[in-house]
Amino acid sequence: MATEARILPPRVTAPRSIGRSVLLTLPVMVWSLLIFSNSYRGPNRSVLIAGIITSVFMTALFFMMMRTWSTYRWRRWFFVALGLLFPVGFIHEVMVMRGSMGIPMEEMIAGRTPFCFLPIPLLILPAALTKTVVFPGSILPGGGMSGSGMAAMAGLWLAITIVVGKGWCSYTCFFGGIEEGMASLPPRAKLRKIDPRWRYGPWAVLLAMVLLSLALFEPAYCMWLCPFKAVSEYVAARNSVGMVQNGIFVVLFAGLVIVLPLLTKKRTQCAFFCPFGAFQSIFNKTSVFDVKIDQSRCSPCVLCQNACPTMSLTAESIAQGKTLMSCMKCGACVDVCPKHAAVWHIKGTEVAVKPERARLMLLYAAWGMATMFGGTTIAQGLATILHVLV
């Protein structure tokens, strides 16, 4: 009865007023100025310019999200920029640090591998059984690690993850941007029929890698399967094993990050392979934000299903009014729905009553972390390019 009596909000088509959009963007502008304040104070001109550009970029994108009511296309600009500029800054840093993109085994054992979040799920079992962290990543400049620093990183990741769940994969991960950029290039997909069972791929990779990491006592995914080793740092190929490992990295990168996104218009690496993504899916259960399908408005046109870059919507899930556990909260389905049936939602509240309020709350949290992690990475990449050019 409550559903029948519910008054649906009007469909919004006109852009939000400039004044109101600016007002809503103000917190993000202040946050971005704070994040990049160090670059304004420093003597390095490249860092200063990069900081200013990034600050304006992040604020402008958020303003456009407010003005146009649209999330996906503006977020995508940020995400692709992050994906492209991360390798630039990262490779520059490892070249300065050790003079090569190849990391020798002794450097890894000494804990001078830059910290990466991808092996987090692989560390749990070895740490639980032996109290040993098998990925000796460093978080201090020039290598090294402190216990409190590591704890702070883990705490920050956990806090963000609990709030946005798998939104991490759309607003923070610095690997997904390249494939999202690739997927956006072709006007339409050439490969449309994808067996839905491939969606279980990330879980299979997670299960296999967790078990192998315990057996081999090393982060097996980083050693054997990470496609992004091809654009970050690889195992120094001193023997045939190293050659095989690097061959696997390149083939996976070319296939999952370049070719398949071009053919399918999907984020294939994220949807069918990434074990960290599967791990993050679990936290969609703790996140207060999700996307719902308002059944009273939905005429199953499957536009949302086709638009979803990770195949997180199926006919069954749409009929149930929800997305699958693998939803990355990118907003593609919400933006594409002509009837505004796909809506942002806060758990515990009624569906489609105040979806814009839910979107705003998600975006403040997600864009805050996007600026903090992604923004600083973009600035670092830009500074590297400017350093060469200016």
Partner: protein, 223 residues
């Protein structure tokens, strides 16, 4: 070395097994966990699966121990034959894993009631059960706890004593496998079975690579 009684020796084997349990779980986990998840749900089928797997693993242990003891190479198996033996075992393990993953899918697709006894032989009537084959091959592989037990068993006076030592050691390690029965409580769905089968194939490819590398004389992961 002071004289020690049989009870002391087998007590030592039990304690050694108990303390090596986590390493055994780590070593057998990549084979056992996904194949157990692909099998039927329920505590009873899981217990039956685990019993078969562990029984076959014990057989593999004892067979290897007896043969190696007789040949006098229990501790110091020369590098070349060791690579050959472990390489062949890894290739076989990969083959069985792939075949098992395929068979489980085949059986689930046809909704056979006896899916926990998936035959891995072409001749179904005489087929060997998947868990038995996997357990036997993991028992034969030279995992670190096995080598540790081998070092101690090699000091014993007879092959029978060495085999008994291994049997008691095996009992100690098996205690750690008991909690895995709880995997039977995981509700089986197409998702769980598919994930388990995909993981088995992935792990099989890794073992296949390791096996082939060893057969070509390459040293991988300390073997």
């Amino acid at each position: 070395m002071p004289p020690v009684t049989g009870t002391f020796i087998f007590g030592e084997a039990l304690v050694l097994g108990l303390s090596s349990g986590p390493a055994c779980i780590a070593s057998c986990g990549p084979v056992l966990v996904p194949s157990l998840l692909a099998a039927d749900a329920g505590v009873r089928p899981s217990t039956r699966y685990l019993t078969t797997f562990l029984g076959a693993r014990l057989l593999g242990y004892l067979l290897f121990a007896a043969v190696a003891w007789e040949l006098g190479v229990l501790v110091a198996l020369p590098p070349a034959p060791r690579l050959l033996v472990v390489g062949v075992i890894h290739v076989l393990l990969a083959g069985v894993l792939i075949w098992y993953a395929y068979s489980v899918g085949h059986v689930h697709a046809r909704s056979r009631p006896d899916s926990e006894l998936v035959t891995i032989d072409v001749a179904r009537k005489r087929g060997i059960s998947g868990p038995a084959a996997l357990g036997f091959l993991t028992g034969l592989s030279l995992c670190p706890p096995f080598v540790v037990a081998g070092v101690r068993a090699a000091e014993l006076k007879s092959a029978v004593a060495a085999v008994l030592f291994f049997a008691v050691f095996f009992l100690g390690t098996s205690v750690w496998f008991v909690p895995l029965v709880s995997l039977g409580c995981v509700r089986r769905s197409q998702a769980v079975t598919t994930v388990a089968r995909m993981a088995m194939v992935l792990i099989a490819f890794f073992y296949l690579y390791l096996g082939l590398a060893m057969l070509m004389g390459r040293k991988v992961y300390g073997y």
